[in-house]
């Protein structure tokens, strides 16, 4: 039973019924929509069709010319026509050697012109109808999938119900001709084809600070790599890896006859980064496997060390391609003494926390220059109204009061179902977020964190680095037991939320900047907003799940960024 199954305070039957009734209503509305029309199949490839059309046109032109000749045979005006033909031929030479048949065919060009215009008009109408139909159906699917994902994230319905309802909706639309029937068996975003993340069972994670920078030359590209944190447990050892190269790494050159798709997927850097190897102080040797990605100058990911170094090993010497000497990775370094804590959350507040997150997501899009119009506020209002109607929230829910307060502050009118909600107070944290929204006075540097957080809802995370720039802050996280980022698809509703709080009253929210994921193991690049205050001396990094919240307090001892731009040779 997952965390979602544990929210017993919610009336799950009422929530599921509300969702299903919304589907019924949308299907009824869908009956009035235009039907889906599959693209007309082409009998022949374009080139064959073009050749056939050219031949037919040439034959038609030749026939027109023959008719003209026959009409002139025996006529008294024959010499005149001969002269005319010579004249036309001369003109044709002057017109770029156009054949006489082409000139004659211009007599009939107006018919072609009209046919072309008619075809364009009908094509435009077809496309407009298709666009209207697609948009309407997409709106239906998007709304229902968003609501289902929210209910599932809150724990008001199970993930099984979420997947079942959405699959039935998509199938119902397809078998009624409202959408492409290929969607029935396609990889629908909400289909739980991805297995739930396996809980982390290999013992506690250890985070060992490494913080080593090395110059390298990978596949002819000069650059600098940064090895941040070694994450180990009983069955694995992983080094966080970042690299910046002097020039954008080029894709591999195409071999003759190689398929284009293969060329697009393969990047020479991916194979070049497999050239690392390591030995330990006991004489053991290790293979190193890079997984991750990048593009251009920047690459990031992790180096998996195999086998796991024994407990007696004190260091690893990592041989870096074209580096002067191996890079030494300490295995017995003590983790930094960061203060780590965890607290249980009130399950009754899951829905409030979810809606608060939605509000904050919209708030962080507001910039002073945006005139407070940024953000999908109608979407949040509709979601809140749905959660209220489904019995997941009540008119006295604190999150609704905060939403009403934000709406009043933004001078936006709440929809009728929310009109009875009494506005509360906009939290000071949210105001601090807005106050520093456009700030660009953040320090430049990096803090090697190397802190393992306690397990939250089955996910075990290690915060590896914190990097600050003038206008933003980035957080690097390695996680085990993490849900597949694809799992939530179109109706995505994250079960986890990252945020931070500094020691001068500033609050920071996160957005995803990049990730790599495999079988429950994730490396995440999170962007924290706004830029960190230059007065801040400590930052509490917080991971909030459905049932618990873990945090680590990190002193902000900024070090120079290790991956500064590589000067040209």
């Amino acid at each position: 039973m997952g965390a979602a199954e544990e929210s017993e305070d919610l009336d799950r039957g009422r929530a599921e019924l509300y969702l299903r009734l919304q589907v019924e209503a949308e299907l009824r509305r869908g009956l009035g929509l235009p039907r889906y029309e599959p693209p007309r199949p082409r009998l022949f490839p374009d080139r064959v069709l073009g050749a056939v059309v050219t031949v037919l046109q040439a034959r038609r032109h030749a026939a027109m010319l023959r008719r003209l000749r026959r009409a002139s045979t025996g006529s008294a005006v024959r010499p005149v026509i001969r002269w005319f033909r010579r004249f036309v031929a001369g003109k044709a030479a002057g017109l770029g050697q156009r054949p006489l048949a082409w000139l004659v065919s211009q007599r009939f060009a107006w018919r072609r012109w009209i046919r072309l215009r008619l075809w364009r008009i009908t094509r435009h109408r077809r496309r407009r109808t298709e666009l209207e139909r697609t948009t309407s159906v997409d709106v239906v699917v998007e709304r229902i999938s968003g609501l289902a994902a929210a209910m599932s994230a809150i724990g008001a319905i199970s993930e099984t119900t979420q997947a079942q309802v959405l699959e039935d909706l998509q199938t119902s639309l397809a078998i009624r001709g409202m959408t492409d029937p290929h969607l029935i068996f396609g990889q629908l975003p909400w289909r739980p084809w991805a297995q739930p993340p396996q809980p982390h069972t290999s013992g506690p994670l250890r985070a060992i600070p490494v913080g080593v920078v090395a110059e390298t030359d990978v596949d002819g590209q000069r650059g600098r790599i940064y090895l941040g944190t070694l994450v180990t447990d009983a069955s694995s050892a992983t080094l966080t890896f970042r690299a910046r190269f002097e020039q954008p790494a080029a894709r591999s050159s195409a071999a003759p006859g190689q398929l284009r798709q293969v060329r697009m997927r393969h990047h020479s850097m991916l194979s070049a980064l497999q050239k690392f190897a390591a030995t330990d102080n006991l004489g053991g040797s290790y293979s190193i496997n890079f997984s991750g990605g990048g593009g251009g100058e920047d690459w990031r990911g992790r180096l998996d060390v195999s086998p796991v170094p024994p407990a007696a090993a004190r260091w690893l010497d990592l041989s870096v391609p074209d580096a002067a000497a191996p890079v030494r990775i300490p295995l017995d370094a003590a983790p930094p003494p960061h203060e780590v804590s965890i607290r249980a959350l009130d399950p009754a507040g899951t829905a409030d926390r979810f809606l608060d997150n939605c509000i904050v997501e919209q708030l962080q899009q507001i910039r002073p220059a945006d005139d407070e119009d940024a953000g999908d506020w109608p979407g949040v209002f509709d979601l809140a109204a749905d959660l209220l109607a489904a019995g997941i929230l009540t008119k006295h829910s604190p999150s609704l009061a905060r939403l009403a307060a934000v709406a009043r502050w933004l001078k936006r009118r709440l929809p009728d179902p929310l009109s009875g909600v009494e506005p509360g107070v906009v939290p000071a944290e949210w105001l601090s977020l807005l106050a520093r929204a456009a700030s660009a006075d953040g320090p430049a540097g990096i803090v090697p964190v190397a802190a393992a957080l306690p397990v939250v809802d089955g996910a075990h995370c290690v915060v590896t680095e914190l990097e600050s720039e003038a206008d933003s802050m980035a957080l690097q996280v390695h996680a085990r037991g993490w849900p597949d980022p694809h799992r939530y698809g179109a109706g995505r509703a994250e079960p986890f939320r990252w945020s931070a709080r500094d020691d001068v009253g500033g609050w920071y929210t996160s957005s995803e900047s990049g990730w790599s994921y495999s079988n429950g193991e994730a490396d995440m690049d999170l962007r924290l907003h706004p830029a960190v205050s230059p007065r801040a001396r400590e930052l509490q990094i917080i991971l909030t799940g459905r049932t618990a919240e873990a945090s680590v307090s990190v002193p902000l001892n900024w070090q120079p960024a290790p991956l500064r731009r590589v000067p040209p040779r």
């Binding site: 039957g13 599921e16 019924l17 299903r20 009734l21 589907v23 019924e24 209503a25 299907l27 009824r28 009956l31 039907r35 079942q164 309802v165 699959e167 039935d168 199938t171 119902s172 397809a174 078998i175 009624r176 001709g177 029937p181 290929h182 029935i184 068996f185």
Partner: protein, 320 residues
């Protein structure tokens, strides 16, 4: 004793390409039978032991397996105006089974049913009661045990997943409109107070309530000229036919109804929901093409007994 749930349904047939010829599938009296396969259970045993699968019997087994499948109610038609346009040609094109190893089934309504016969494609959880000639019933008893044992073993393989079940369900719906309504009726009956899932239907209450609302709404809209969105239905568990009331908020009328799930099986599915301006709330007795029903002329009225008759593709009040 009240009439069985299927008493107001007429028979329906579909033709199936099976072996070298076209065979007939016949739905009557609540069950689907393969007319050309009288020794159906024997053939099922042979198929389970490695013999050739029989498309006719695969359809029959699939029908039995999905006769309590709530997804059928989620996918199936809500009203006569709600037509499913999926054809088996489309399914053949889009399903993972592709066009390999298929048999074609053609129903009387002209739609085509393509049945996957790939390994593991039709796993069965239980078999549908088959019609066996009376004289052979005794020596079939031993086989029946073997069949049920074999049928309970779900075939393993990469295809035994959700896609297969979804494809099978859709292929049953693609048999044609008469079969869609009959399968919906069978599912509703399985979850009604007299059905096999009566004891566990609380967990399915949201799905059943939505199915009831989705089907009552169009009928009520035609009956009272109200917006279908203003119709709210709930499952009635007690005795009697249920209750129905109309309230007004300004110019908008709201219809609230409590009806048993059996209303879907016995009234809605045979097309009896609305008969000449009357909402039928219960079937008292039926022997297709005739039935005695309780019907409301207007909300608030006491339901009146009515004799109805199926004629020219519709039910109408029988001349007294």
């Amino acid at each position: 004793m009240s009439a069985p749930w299927w008493a107001a349904f007429g028979p329906a047939t579909a033709e199936v390409s099976c072996g070298d010829g076209m065979h007939t599938l016949r739905w009557a009296d609540g069950s689907l039978t393969a007319v050309e396969h009288p020794d159906a259970e024997g053939e099922l045993v042979l198929a389970a032991l490695g013999g050739d699968a029989t498309p006719c019997l695969d359809v029959v087994r699939a029908w039995g397996r999905h006769s309590d499948d709530l997804s059928v109610l989620a996918l199936g038609p809500r009203s006569a105006a709600d037509r499913l346009t999926i054809t088996t040609e489309m399914l053949d094109e889009v399903s993972p089974a592709g066009g390999q190893g298929i048999s074609v089934v053609r129903s009387r309504q002209g739609s085509t049913f393509v049945l996957s016969r790939r390994a593991g494609g039709f796993a069965a959880a239980r078999s549908t009661p088959m019609r066996v000639p009376a004289g052979r019933a005794s020596h079939m008893a031993a086989r029946r045990a073997a069949v049920s044992r074999l049928m309970s073993m779900r075939r393993l393989g990469p295809d035994s997943d959700g896609d297969d079940e979804r494809a099978t369900r859709l292929r049953l719906l693609a048999l044609g409109e008469p079969f869609q309504w009959r399968l919906s009726g069978a599912v509703a009956h399985a979850w009604s107070a007299d059905g096999e899932h009566a004891g566990t239907r609380d967990r399915a209450r949201p799905a059943l309530t939505a199915a009831l609302t989705g089907r009552l709404a169009p009928a009520a809209a035609d009956w009272l000229d109200v917006d279908p969105a203003t119709v709210a239905a709930a499952v009635h568990d007690g005795a009697g036919w249920g209750e129905l009331s109309v309230s007004s908020a300004g110019s908008v009328r709201h219809l609230r109804a409590r009806l048993p799930v059996s209303w879907l099986a016995t009234v809605w599915a045979p097309g009896l929901a609305l008969v000449q301006g009357r909402l039928v709330v219960r079937v008292l007795d039926a022997a297709w093409p005739s039935a005695r029903v309780l019907a409301l002329r207007a909300p608030g009225d006491e339901p009146a007994e009515l004799a109805v008759r199926y004629d020219k593709d519709r039910w109408s009040v029988a001349a007294s």
